[in-house]
Symmetry: D2
Subunit: 404 residues, 4 copies
């Protein structure tokens, strides 16, 4: 395949080994200027400190670091949470939700610096390439997309390190790296190493953020969470921004070993992969939101919200964020979340977050209706008529069968 | 409402206060012979010992006790589990799954004794009346249905006890009963008392079967479970029948505090109720089955199985067991479960059952595909074409917008 | 059942026999003042001329006639059309969509006149009672609802006529009435008579509005319809309001025999009924909107819109208009309709409306992509990679099976 | 891309220009033996007469013609019809349903002749390449797949004709061919030519099988169709095999101009295409099956069958026939179809097939229930209770709102 002609490319840069190689590789193979773009999505100081210097040392002409933390929680995470999305019943979509906002900010940098191409460091086997390029197709179909991992012939960390060494580009990356990890404010994922066999249990070192539940405090801890329109707005009486709330819940959740999952999932590209994900704060948030929903959503609304959750989980996982379908699904979930106000007490204990108390001004639960005694709103004699009509088709069908 | 003319009625009898009152009440109000029917669905010896004597002492002409335990697990629970049904995301449908098999056996007794009516002891506010009468409509539309709770004017335990005392019918029921409970081999449910306010956490005495996770063993325990066609067939190397497997898992699960939920749910009859459910063995079974599914089901099959789970949970909860729709949904799930064979290790620890190891001859997971390195089946260069076509509509849409 | 205490009731009055009886019946049985409310939903001058006089002559203290025609098309019909709803694959929901707006306006009159009750003339076997009372429950749960047909013992037209004659209330209704009909601007429905046997074909007199296709013009007629955001905004170059467009399309559609259906449908109350519906303008509108959607909606959006159509058809038919679920579904459809702009030519010929030409600035169809020849956006070589990944799970599954 | 090493390839051969070129091209480019495989799926004598000679003259070592007509209708078309699948609301999937059975038979020939590769003549822009290769992946993942249209550089009919002329391979294909067509017993599709602009109406010559409705008989014709388990088993009193029934209905349907559609559809590969499809017999079959369903399926079953139709339409269109999901969906539809027995009279008139009469021993329609008068099964007073419970959540929600 002949290379396209490119003048200036903006690369999604992390400071890790892969993207450090990508900068010189792009310059050499495309003869173009390379601008580094670093998204601050809460991956932590470890990855951000000195990242600009690293980028320049690797040959970038400029480096933009953009803080996306509040926007990510507000505009990407909450709309997803309102749908109740768990990918394949378990995964809280931590990596998936971060990709569209990173891609969008990267396009904005490209427009600003007048770039004609975009590059990313995702491999050819994963979902992230689809998420980046799906967003690019929707937001900047005129820009070229370069995916070095699908083009070059480097196939090991050793070759990548050699590549940098040959060019005297400083790099602190180690030769061996057991696990492949991705972190943002919402979660950290861990793949590879011992996890490559599904018959291996995760090792202790598979878990990066959370305390082992067996070593978590022996005393339970209780949180009071206030929810408005499907979003956490206060913790233990203190109002917090979306990102602040997440960080605070991450801290207390991690202490109690909350939010670990170990899953074999279907990638979009047709294969399965196995990963360990830690989402301490997010797991608590979901427990709180679902608890308020229990009070507020009627039966048919609840069922539809569950269906939206399945659909949204697929769309977000599959990199379909910037599509009319995703927008439509989110509009439906937003509408249902309008009533989702209330207060929840969550118990944290050795890996479990459990809503133990809940209340809401919009609660459809009523002590009077649910218990014995005559009342105005519910009359038991209504039930006979209800059941009769409810099962009428069964009755007719059965009477038909008896006639034959 | 004038009473229908009835000669012989079969009543679903539990030995509890309500159904003990129902027997004389039916005789007095309908002038008919009353046959007691007791379903043994694993509710335990407490409820079954001496139940026949009690029924006869209350005035029943006969009492049939029918063992439905194996049949319930095999023909009612497993078909439901294969759909992955959790009602409103949480509830494992313990009461719901037992009702249709009880109703079916009750109809069989009615046919045997030549009865012309069926009676049950469900209140007019709950789901169970719909489940019984929905089954009756499908299986015996020619038989009259009597629901004493919707007819009589007894409104308290005290009145019920007085009713029996006036007739010299012996009864050991206590005047006060804090909680309303229902048990079978699959679960025990608890409602009422402190649970009536959703702002109250459950008390210790809300939980009947399971150890409090805080008091459960400090050492985790590991089980090896063998799954075939979506059913548990062996535990720690020992082959077990469906019911035996459930009982064995109940015991070990209860010890570790597994399977507690506390939920506010939407009843079919339009109101919400709050209940605590304990399903220790069932929770472990679900974890095992879902773990094998992770290995075996492809992406689109997994998504459909999740949709089937939502649909089945509604049908089973709503008493729609004996309907063409339920049969159709179960046929779809049965088809998907054909490949669900494998082995799972489950860790039990302080309230949590977690699959830590899993393998299957039908696994679509492959270490080779998921990791680096060239291979025959997956070629990274394919991904570029995939993504291009996958996002083509987004690209065209965006190009259109740019033209305006 | 003892009657509730009522001072003033607003009755949904049509001027027909049933509601003419209801006015005196309410006065006699509830000892209350009766206010008549007539909704003008385009049912036609026949039913509206002199309706106020009739109501007063029947004993109403006042009569309110409210014009709801434009609002009905704009706020009830269009939101439904955007979902693509056909009940059970065929029925365009003519009666169903009118009920919520009538009920809402009736509640407004009740608030205005200080009434404490609402009454309607629907029978106890149909869907309309549920639609009215479902709306009342959502909008005015504090008002009593009286459904005379479920209370009184009148069971024939003859008895109703006698009832009026005994009270010297003038009535021009005939003793026999073959068909039961309901009309509004959107459609007219016909039930009863020969239609009661599904083995009878509809008679000529079953159809009230439309020309028999066999007698329709032998020459086809062509209309050019402009669509914006999923709504018809112009016909043959002339801008029209929603109601005007419907009326214009009704006229030309009826001439060509468009929009007849004959269906056996499932009522909400558990039985089936058979009806003939005529929706000439609506059928043309649906053809136009669906044609633009073909150009504009991508594959996954189209599929979701079809699912929304099924869900919305159930909700609207079942009288669930004023529910959070209906609002959520409509929000999703509204979002998808944002791009649905374009122009369509519709051919009308002997009962069929067929889109023969269509175009849109938002069209995702491109001659270049669809035909031969190299192009920038679509490269055939991409397809190989796409297919490989798309069928990867099938390949792995099959390779697994071969190993056994 | 270097060519794989192939000894013997089985090519899906039609006798048309493309596949005539493919035979010598495969021999020259892969140096392999080429076996021609012709599927008789009812495409007609025009394409089949002399096809074996043509194949051998083009250089094939052998030619297998396999009759798949009955099997196609019985095992591919009927399972799809039972789901009620219309792709994007309109298309009866004629080409889509034929591909898996052709691919399966092609694999069987490959096994018989010991081939190590499979080839097809589909272009790189269409759906058929995915359908063939999806089936190959599921049935023969060990065989190489060659898609010449994605490999060679021939881009026009002229180049194809030159290619054959240079090799002295006789060919009767014309230089210009306005439309691209595909036919089998179920339908004929037409693409290209004037249809390439969506603003062009189809020409007369776009339609190949059916009479123009405007030129169809002025007299309607009536058919009596007997349906068993969702399949047509007799026409006008005469029992017919599945294929015979289809052929008979095609003939009478074509005469009356039945089954034309003109659609812009979403291809799986991301672009839209426009086609005219003629499915005369199939359209009548669908009308008959849906008519019996109206009598037999209860409300919730009908709704689920509609959902199955959407899902199946996507799976079949997308080449997912041999997948666990497709098997599961078909199992669900098969289950629902068990009751779909009955008789229907269909009126054919100028392009429309309309069920005018229908009856079934399994009909849930009952004249008695649907009309006035007291009866045992339906008591109007039940409706009050039904509605009260049905709208209870709305009532509570509204009462809540009033409190604020």
């Amino acid at each position: 395949m002949s290379k396209v002609n490119v003048n200036k490319v903006v690369v999604a840069y992390s400071g890790g080994l892969d993207t450090s190689v990508i900068i010189p590789w792009l310059k050499e193979n495309y003869g173009c200027e390379v601008v580094a773009f670093v998204a601050d999505v809460g991956q932590g100081a470890d990855e951000l400190v000195g990242v600009e210097e690293k980028a320049l040392a690797s040959g970038a002409s400029e480096c933009y670091v953009v803080d996306l933390k509040e926007e990510m929680v507000k505009d990407y995470i909450y709309p997803t949470l309102k749908t109740g999305a768990y990918y394949e019943g378990k995964y809280l979509l931590g990596t998936s939700m971060a990709r569209p906002i990173i891609a969008k900010a990267q396009v904005e940098v490209a427009r600003k610096v007048g770039a004609d191409a975009l590059a990313h460091g995702c491999t050819g086997k994963g979902n992230d390439q689809v998420r980046f390029e799906g967003a690019f197709a929707a937001l900047a179909p005129d820009l070229h997309v370069i995916a070095p991992w699908r083009e070059w012939d480097l196939v090991s960390r050793e070759e990548c390190l050699d590549y940098l060494a040959e060019r005297n580009i400083p790099c602190t990356a180690s030769l061996t790296k057991i696990y492949s990890r991705d972190a943002n404010a919402w979660h950290i994922s861990t793949e590879g190493g011992v996890l490559e066999s599904t018959w291996n249990a995760p090792n202790d070192d598979c878990w990066a953020w959370t305390t082992d539940p067996e070593k978590a405090p022996n005393e339970a801890e209780y949180l009071t969470i206030k929810v408005e329109k499907g979003e956490v707005v206060a913790l233990n009486g203190k109002e917090l921004s979306p990102y602040e709330a997440l960080i605070a819940l991450n801290e207390v959740g991690a202490k109690h070993g909350i939010g670990r999952i170990d899953i074999v999932e279907n990638r979009l590209v047709g294969m399965k992969s196995r990963g360990c994900y830690e989402t301490p704060g997010g797991t608590i948030m979901m427990e709180a939101l679902r608890a308020v929903e229990q009070l507020v959503l009627d039966k048919t609304s609840f069922e539809f919200r569950e269906e939206l959750g399945i659909k949204a989980s697929q769309l977000v996982y599959d990199g379909r964020w910037f599509t009319p379908l995703c927008k439509s699904i989110m509009a439906a979930a937003e509408s249902l979340a309008e009533d989702v106000n209330g207060e929840v007490v969550i118990k944290l204990y050795k890996g479990q977050a459990t809503a133990t108390q809940k209340r809401s001004d919009n609660s459809l639960y009523s002590e009077e209706f649910a218990t014995f005694g005559a009342d105005d709103v519910y009359d038991q004699s209504h039930a006979g008529g209800f059941i009769r009509l409810y099962s009428l088709a069964s009755r007719i069908r059965s009477l038909n069968a008896a006639k034959k």
